[in-house]
């Protein structure tokens, strides 16, 4: 584990939004590292703050406390213009809804090369056109699609355009925010395969944001489960699926539908009740309970979880 290089480090991150005159804490006390070359997933229900964290890393949402490091350099808060440019180029995002994330009035050619234009990352017009064609080919679209408008494409094709737009900047790190939840079953598999291929070919690192644990299990190396703005558990994928500790993780796992009628019909749904935690005196901490397996718990719960591990 030690030789793994940390690409992203998130330390004590807090993000607040102003609602009326009050501050609303959307994300609090979040700590995790993403290693170079891995797929790290954030899983939680809607409103849990998973997208907010992703957006904070690519500098769309401002942070109110804590640090985000990229390649060892701090990238949240006030940073120099050069570093800002570097972050924008090296950290790209793929958005959730391909129907809403493409400019309807621009041609695909412009949509994909907008980043290049803003950063003057091409020698001449010919070079730019060639780059667009390459990006299109890489995501499995035809080069002549460049002259078309987004409304001429299906959902799966639009999502590919969104991926091409992120890739053309030659990023090191990609935040994929529910990239397949808006797509049809048969298209999902295609886009997942594409993301996996690109990762291998380009040595990308992904932050994958999702609420569907079955997809996450297939694609990710490590998973963090987030509930109400706090990460409650973090572990390697199979470890998390086989030995979930936090009650919320267990509830989430029990809700995942399995494509097998016999298992499905015997399934017992676990409902998470946050009031089982008594944090009035014994304050919870972020604890590494096994190597690489973290859980958010107080001392008493840690003792209980340790018992569970032994069984």
């Amino acid at each position: 584990m030690a030789e793994k290089e940390k690409l992203i480090e998130v330390k004590d991150l807090q993000i607040t939004f102003r609602v009326g005159k009050k501050d609303f804490v959307a994300v609090d006390d979040v700590n995790f590292d993403i290693y170079r070359g891995e797929t790290f997933s954030l899983v939680g229900e809607s409103g849990s703050g998973k997208t907010t964290i992703g957006r904070a890393i690519v500098r769309i949402n401002p942070t109110s406390k804590g640090e985000i490091l990229f390649n060892g350099k701090q990238i949240n808060g006030k940073i120099s213009k050069e570093l800002d440019r570097e972050v924008i180029q090296k950290c790209q995002m793929i958005f959730q809804d391909p129907m809403a994330s493409l400019n309807e009035r621009a041609k695909v050619d412009y949509i994909i090369s907008e980043g290049l234009i803003n950063f003057h990352l091409y020698k001449d017009e010919k070079d730019r056109a060639a780059k667009v064609q390459n990006a299109l080919k890489e995501v499995g679209l035809l080069p002549e699609f460049a002259s078309r408008f987004p409304h001429e494409f299906s959902g799966g094709q639009r999502q590919r355009i969104g991926i091409a737009r992120a890739l053309i900047m030659e990023p090191e790190f990609v935040v994929a925010d529910e990239p397949i939840s808006a797509l049809d079953v048969s298209i999902r598999a295609q886009v997942l395969n594409l993301l996996n291929n690109l990762k291998q070919k380009r040595g990308l690192t992904y932050l994958f944001i999702a609420h569907d644990l079955s997809v996450v299990r297939f694609i990710s190396d490590r998973i963090a489960v987030i509930h109400k703005g706090r990460i409650v558990e973090l572990a390697e994928t199979e470890e998390l699926f086989h030995h979930p500790l936090h009650p919320y993780t267990k509830a989430l796992l029990s809700a995942v539908p399995t494509p097998d009628p016999e298992i499905e019909k015997q399934k017992k749904l676990i409902v998470y009740d946050p009031s089982i935690h008594d944090y009035s005196v014994d304050k919870p901490k972020w604890v590494e309970i096994l190597p690489g397996h973290f859980v958010y718990a107080n001392d008493k719960e840690v003792a209980e979880y340790k018992e569970q591990i032994k069984d």
């Binding site: 999902r188 644990l213 298992i263």
Partner: protein, 349 residues
């Protein structure tokens, strides 16, 4: 198998739309029997016609199209022949009700939710005044909304997505319909909420003795709720059978493809199985088997003649030439053979 009478029986339904002078055929000769008390799931990609087909049961097809031929027998009447809205009003919402996909758009934002439930009760049951209000409150309680008396007077925007879907279900179930059609009831919801809504529908079904049709593309949901499954592709039902028969002994290559593209069955580090190509253009006349161009196991005859149904068991039939005695033996895809073994093992852990 005991003799069960179908509560609704659709025979050879053909639906046609006219769009800018061109004819579009979303449903091509679909037949389906629905038995009392069962849960039937209809699965397929978007555009396969699963919504259009079920909408024809309640006369909700768009104005530019209609049922061209075929019959839908319900309570001894062929409702496919209905043309007047007045006829449909006796059935829609009262005997056959529908839950729509997106709870964010299927409620009236300007009306408190209680009134929206009450409206249905007053229209269909002729109960007025305080009594109908009480019934609406009871209905809210039934679908698991706490403090129903106060929430009666709240607007849809004051509810979360899962709660709104509960309200939509309350509206649909308010008249104790015989058939409840759920059109992707959980696609817009989170997994945890999804599981709760599925439980709710199941409990209501038991309590009210309803027959439920699920329209979905999520095979996990299907495994959870369905007794029987119908797989649709390009306006045809290509395979229908009991849920175990579809999951453990699928016969149609399209069902194989759907099952093996599930990420749950994928092996990490290996690409997932995908379905190449796109569904056929429904404006054109389709020759032969509609799935043939995308089918890895397609035979020559698939491109010439549309296959008939072949019975696998009494309850299970599929529309593929592979089941013809003259067809070559095709091995079922690897991923599906492993389905049972793999999931069993993991389920025990």
């Amino acid at each position: 198998m005991e003799e069960r009478k179908p509560i609704l029986s659709a025979q050879d339904i053909e639906i046609e739309f006219t769009l800018r002078g061109r004819k579009l055929k979303p449903i091509r000769k679909c037949s389906l029997d629905l038995y009392e008390g069962e849960t039937l799931a209809i699965v397929g990609e978007s555009g396969s016609g699963k919504s259009v087909f079920t909408k024809s049961f309640i006369g909700m097809l768009d104005n530019n199209g209609g049922i061209k031929s075929g019959s839908i027998m319900f309570e001894g009447v062929d409702i496919a022949k209905y043309t007047k809205e007045a006829d449909w009003l006796k059935i829609r919402g009262k005997k056959i009700a529908m839950v729509f996909q997106d709870p964010m758009t299927s409620l009236n934002p300007l009306k408190v939710i209680g009134e929206q439930i009450r409206e249905v009760i007053e229209l269909h049951q002729g109960i007025k005044g305080e009594e109908s209000k009480e019934l609406a409150i009871q209905m809210l309680e039934k679908v698991g909304i706490t403090d129903p008396r106060n929430r009666y007077n709240q607007y849809p925007h004051q509810f979360s997505g899962g709660m709104r879907q509960r309200v939509v279900i309350a509206i649909a179930a308010a008249c104790y319909p015989q058939i409840l059609i759920c059109d992707e009831p959980t696609t817009a919801l989170d997994v945890t909420i999804q599981a709760q809504i599925l439980d709710l529908i199941r409990n209501l079904q038991k309590e009210m003795g309803m027959t439920v049709i699920y329209i979905t593309h999520d095979l996990g949901v299907v495994a959870n709720v369905a007794d029987r499954v119908a797989v649709m592709y390009a306006g045809e039902i290509v395979e229908v059978g009991k849920v175990e028969e579809i999951f453990y002994d699928a016969q149609h290559p399209y069902t194989w493809a759907l099952l093996s593209s599930l990420p749950q069955l994928g092996v990490k580090g290996e690409p997932l199985a995908t379905i190449d190509g796109t569904p056929p253009n429904l404006y054109n006349e389709i020759k032969g088997d509609a799935f043939a161009p995308r089918n890895r196991h397609a035979l020559k005859i698939d491109f010439i003649e549309n296959p008939p149904y072949f019975n696998v068991t009494e309850t299970h039939k599929a529309k593929t030439w592979l089941l013809d005695p003259r067809a070559p033996k095709v091995e079922h895809p690897h991923a599906i053979q492993k389905l049972r073994a793999r999931l069993k093992r993991e389920g025990n852990q």
